[in-house]
Subunit: 253 residues, 2 copies
Amino acid sequence: MDKPNVVSACVLIIGNEILSGRTQDLNLQYIAQTLGEQGVTVREARVIPDDRDIIVDAVKYASATYDYVLTTGGIGPTHDDITAECIAAAFGVPLVNHPEIEIRIRGREAPADVMASRLLMARVPEGATLIENLTGGPQGFSMENVHVMAGIPAVLQAMLPNIEFSGGDTVKSRSVRAFMGESEIATKLGELQKQVPSVDIGSYPFHRDGIYGTTLVVRGTKLDEVEATVEEIRGIIRSRGSEPGEVNEGDGA
Amino acid sequence: MDKPNVVSACVLIIGNEILSGRTQDLNLQYIAQTLGEQGVTVREARVIPDDRDIIVDAVKYASATYDYVLTTGGIGPTHDDITAECIAAAFGVPLVNHPEIEIRIRGREAPADVMASRLLMARVPEGATLIENLTGGPQGFSMENVHVMAGIPAVLQAMLPNIEFSGGDTVKSRSVRAFMGESEIATKLGELQKQVPSVDIGSYPFHRDGIYGTTLVVRGTKLDEVEATVEEIRGIIRSRGSEPGEVNEGDGA
């Protein structure tokens, strides 16, 4: 059987500021797209508070359940930055100063209490490896299958490309538009989905500039199957007396 | 003891399109802010795929753990809209046609297969009550402490104000800016947080228009405690030889 090789990931978004609505998360979409290009599928994301027990439990669960775990947030120098100690607790290892980070931090002079705070950012779980990051922001690290990154999007985006993933088959995606409501084609789409279980047909209503319609997105690991399914959907749309519309891939619609 | 009355919520964001990165979620922030104003605190959010077992398990967990559960997505008429049947399964009740929705749908003529698809949107778990929605979009409903809404932000925003929540104490928030790195004040902030456990001090570095700094956000149910803590933080910033900056509340910084 030619089963697709699926490599999975879970994203843990750590931070009270996301849960309170103060900050709009922008990292999940970036991570999902970046991993998708490398054949890693995000299967779950959790937004959790700066709470030690909750973070430790979530890391244990995600690390055991998925091939990769990516965390965002909580790696700065303040009292609410508790991600590193939670990762250490989840893996049952001590938190230690990483010599490489410590040397770099000590290289920039500061009053004693400021230095003490900065040195909190040198702490990683024993056995962790560092994630390269040219922004000079807080240090990310990897512990087994868990990759720990900053919450600030610009810093996260400087870290993520430096993590290596062994991806599975990459998912290809093609879309087509129907200028009609979902109900017009829902029955036939459902039948088609049953005929082609190896691809995933998503239906997303849109309303833009006074035009209503439905975007149909076909995703799968085999491009020929994806394209053949889109062609079937074009036929379904035409059978309703309407010409299918093209979608500029990547325009988010 | 004058303990704050905390009412909690969990948000379940249902949809492959969020996990693939195709769509940026915009609902969590809106829900968190709207509930916060009513004294309901979002404690967790999960983004999960259009997968029956995963949705059922998440609904059971969230409904048992939190005062309120809000779901977004998966209530349209297509094969990938499985939220209603999953909520029914989670509560162990059958899925039934709601007479009020059915009458409304049948009032608009359509070919038999289109009508059949539209009628899928009349299905709610037995015992559910409807969420009013003037957009004419798919029907949201409430089942015990679980409130089921559309994923399209404009439709969700028409539904959420029509749900009644019995909130606890509302959380007040005040912010102040320090034009310095987090490490400069981290030690003193940590000490202050220990002295005032009833408020939550968050520290968020920012970089905008070439200016670096840290926004300190104090949150708590008692405004006098929140404001007194902000005043303490102003003193900490001044002790570093810098004048604290004001934050226009609501500018997201």
